[in-house]
Symmetry: C2
Subunit: 610 residues, 2 copies
Amino acid sequence: MRKSIATVSLSGPLSEKLTAIATAGFDGVEIFENDLLGGPLSPEEVRLRCADLGLGIDLYQPFRDFEAVPADVLARNLRRAERKFAVMERLGADLLLVCSSVAADAVDDDALAAEQLRQLADRAADHGIRIAYEALAWGRHVSTYDHAWRIVEQADHPALGTCLDSFHILSRGSDPKGIADIPGEKIFFLQLADAPLMAMDVLQWSRHYRCFPGQGGFDLAPLVAATVRAGYQGPLSLEVFNDVFRQAAAASTAVDALRSLLLLEESAGLSALPAAPVPSGIAFAELTAADTEPLRGVLGALGFAHTARHTWKPVELWEQGEARILLNTGVGGRRQGPALTALGVETSAPQLAARRAEAVLAPVVPRRRAPLDAPLDAVAAPDGTEVFFCRTGQPDYPSWTGDFTDVPPSAVPGGQGEPAPVPASVPVSATVRHIDHIALTQPWHQFDEAALFHRGVLGLAADDSLDLADPYGLVRSRAVASPDGGVRIVLNVAPAPDADDTRLQHIALATDDIVGAARRLKEQGAGPLPISANYYDDLDARHEFEPGRLATLAELGILYDRDADGEFYHCYTPTIGRVFFELVQRTGGYRGYGAQNAAVRLAAQRLQQH
Amino acid sequence: MRKSIATVSLSGPLSEKLTAIATAGFDGVEIFENDLLGGPLSPEEVRLRCADLGLGIDLYQPFRDFEAVPADVLARNLRRAERKFAVMERLGADLLLVCSSVAADAVDDDALAAEQLRQLADRAADHGIRIAYEALAWGRHVSTYDHAWRIVEQADHPALGTCLDSFHILSRGSDPKGIADIPGEKIFFLQLADAPLMAMDVLQWSRHYRCFPGQGGFDLAPLVAATVRAGYQGPLSLEVFNDVFRQAAAASTAVDALRSLLLLEESAGLSALPAAPVPSGIAFAELTAADTEPLRGVLGALGFAHTARHTWKPVELWEQGEARILLNTGVGGRRQGPALTALGVETSAPQLAARRAEAVLAPVVPRRRAPLDAPLDAVAAPDGTEVFFCRTGQPDYPSWTGDFTDVPPSAVPGGQGEPAPVPASVPVSATVRHIDHIALTQPWHQFDEAALFHRGVLGLAADDSLDLADPYGLVRSRAVASPDGGVRIVLNVAPAPDADDTRLQHIALATDDIVGAARRLKEQGAGPLPISANYYDDLDARHEFEPGRLATLAELGILYDRDADGEFYHCYTPTIGRVFFELVQRTGGYRGYGAQNAAVRLAAQRLQQH
């Protein structure tokens, strides 16, 4: 279907918004009046700009407080409308959105509203313009879509139809089933917005918290499907008032927006995107650093061994169980300290996964490949992390590990003449089984986009968003995971807008022996992060442990949580650059990430920084 | 009365919070458990730190989900309580806050709740500890203060009393009059928080939006007065969960917090602060710049004349009507461009005003004075702007203008050998009458503090907070003004956290002839800021003007608004450094600031910057 977006959904001046919208690939726009009023472009120039960009002007909006008023007010309102018709003719826009009135002088009289809207439509028709009448959820007398439709039906004018808006419908808990009762040709427009489920004043909710479909708590697919089944022929158009998008770069917001519509279309059964299986695990995590020496020390202490090196790139492979870490020194001084720059996800169909990713607007990462390298498709997540689609060590597909050659134990480099801090390639009893999860701090304006990206590209499901108390503010945190927990990614947003180089990232490693793993860390002088003794007094108050257990946890800085399904033990290494490691042990069916302990862990990490 | 604050109200680790709280001048603290759990200090060390700082530990909190449970849960809960009593003994805290239960296993049985709380109090008493039972507004079975009190009354144990919390009481719309029915000695604690009036889920409201008394919409004074009349002897204690304060510097938040309690005490009739008359006008605005040449050009174009210079400082006085601007070049390269660094307010009693300011913790600005200089008392507002208390040109008090000597017209400096861009000291027909208002962009974390400061120090009243649409985000804006409009200050917060050097400020000048004043600006090449022609099309749609009027407004970039009481015309100069000027003409009793036009003006200013 045709796809459109209201200019109010993006930041910046109108001309920059239009460029971003066209570049993302939309077909049309709703021109939001304030964007026209503040800008230097005349309506004719906006028309030309849109034509140059291949964008249709699908709607001009909003026209407010028109209907069901005394005669003298009607005259003024018709005069006002005529002036807007003139602007629309200059713009080349032929559909005007009229919102149900919130004015104190409007009366509760459907017949009067219908009669006056008929007059408006009659005048509009003289200019080749049509009117789409919409119920605002907080309209004074008309606040539901079926009520607005009854008035449109009563007015019975060919230039008058209704506009449906998912936010106004779903925020009031209205049932979209009734859309089936509206003739499709009388649905002139369909505006789409999601929102987190919040118990709050609906006007404030609408003006500040709307988000793109799939980023909130509404179920938009049945509404869209019902509208299309009713015979609606117009565009799917986004209208999102959001405090964050107002500040974010228009170009990336526009891509996020179009991706949300593509995924909505798919879930409403209106289009078929390339399908791909949900990945089954994390194949590797890649850390980039000019100086990998501190990382090698920690990896060794964690029990990893340096097993291979890339055939022609300065990349080392470190392994333990199914956990694989790449250390990349090929970026020189590009970053201050180590950073997690890429991760591989394990999938049975890498090429399908890449095709799906591309279809939902994931930017494909250009690769430098040598002739014999395994094919390795990658896309960039919103925070810049590269996501590779891997099929590791299977006979039916070239494995990325084929680009690596084994390192003989004696050949492990240990710095210029210095011994490696641990005998890295000496086998140790593998206590780490695999990568449990990856946690990535997002740019503050891309939190919702990131969750939708990982859902749409990788097929992960999003948990609820949590607020974690850091000593210097609340950290928003939301996990996306595959149903079986094979792939888990935690998306965080730091309280204050951090610079890119300070956004923390971490790799959580699953172990069956947290005490043994933590003890080795301690013996190697690589942690664990010390945790306040007061935390263990509190643990003792909340839970009963077998004798000695609590002392062991306290000695090794191991945190503890439990839920209805199982238990969770976890501890941390110190932070190196932007990166730290977590060791986690899950028992039973514990599904979480120890959010209960986040405040204590964050306080301990702040202390480490001071 | 004794004044206290919960550590959760401030940012940072516990030790920094305690230092900030003591430095501000509080008598005591509530130790919020998470602050203890995450930190490196043992309870004994926290006790010692508080003692060193002269802070009493007035409360330990919170203890959750205790009462009205089955027997096996009660046993676990009593075990948990015993562990907390042990921590409190180490801390030297003798009052524990118990919140009404939100647990799924709690039953709706007041007698059972009372019986179990009695058991808890009995055990607490063995440790010399008392229990303060509080109704959370979202408690499962107990959510009102009178209900909590009935349970405490029924339990009838000397170590069990109630805790009143203004947020929990007022957010539910409970009437604080009922506090009179509680014996004062059974009110063990009083927690105070304000909040903006919002229609939203009360738990989210409480956890994110609480603010200090006087910064929100609740009327706390009657509640405090009723509690004290009931015989309450404990401290006034702040407990504020606020996303912004969690990020702001603890030291300044603590001062803001104590100021709010001082003003609350005054308004509840519990203390008498030095009183001072509300200032009657703005005596001057001072602009600081290394190079004042661009400012002199604009001032000349606005009709100002350079009339005097300071006897010994590099400060020029420019005047027109009652509007006075000081240009200060004495700061060298300290700032990038011109900035508004000080303003004088006109008061009949400068010394009284200064005494009041000091009493409500306004930092006094140290002055370099020559022996003959007029006394000039100043305090620093939260954003750093210096506020001087002036009495200009009155025989009964030394005037600050006495420190200036007149400039003969021919002696006006015009740069090194260059002519001044306008003949500054040549008298022009004075179209500017006085300074209408000053607008100051605040650091993002001091918006609420700034409004309370100007209310408490200057006696100004605050308007509602507005959201203004800038192309790159919403600008929060709130005006504080004297009842007659003699002093008006608009406090803004930019959407993204700007650096100090980019926070815009402006001076609005009142004129009776906006067209003449704007025309002169244009003739001198100093503006006005061009406004989009589309805005005037919209004005034409919304209002009817006499023939030619709209063309004049459009030609001169004059914006227009009206309300029930009158009309408002305004236009802008270009921005120089951080500063621009506005010309405003009010007719009738128009009280606002043209918020209706803010989006268009902000878009025009962004365009000018590009």
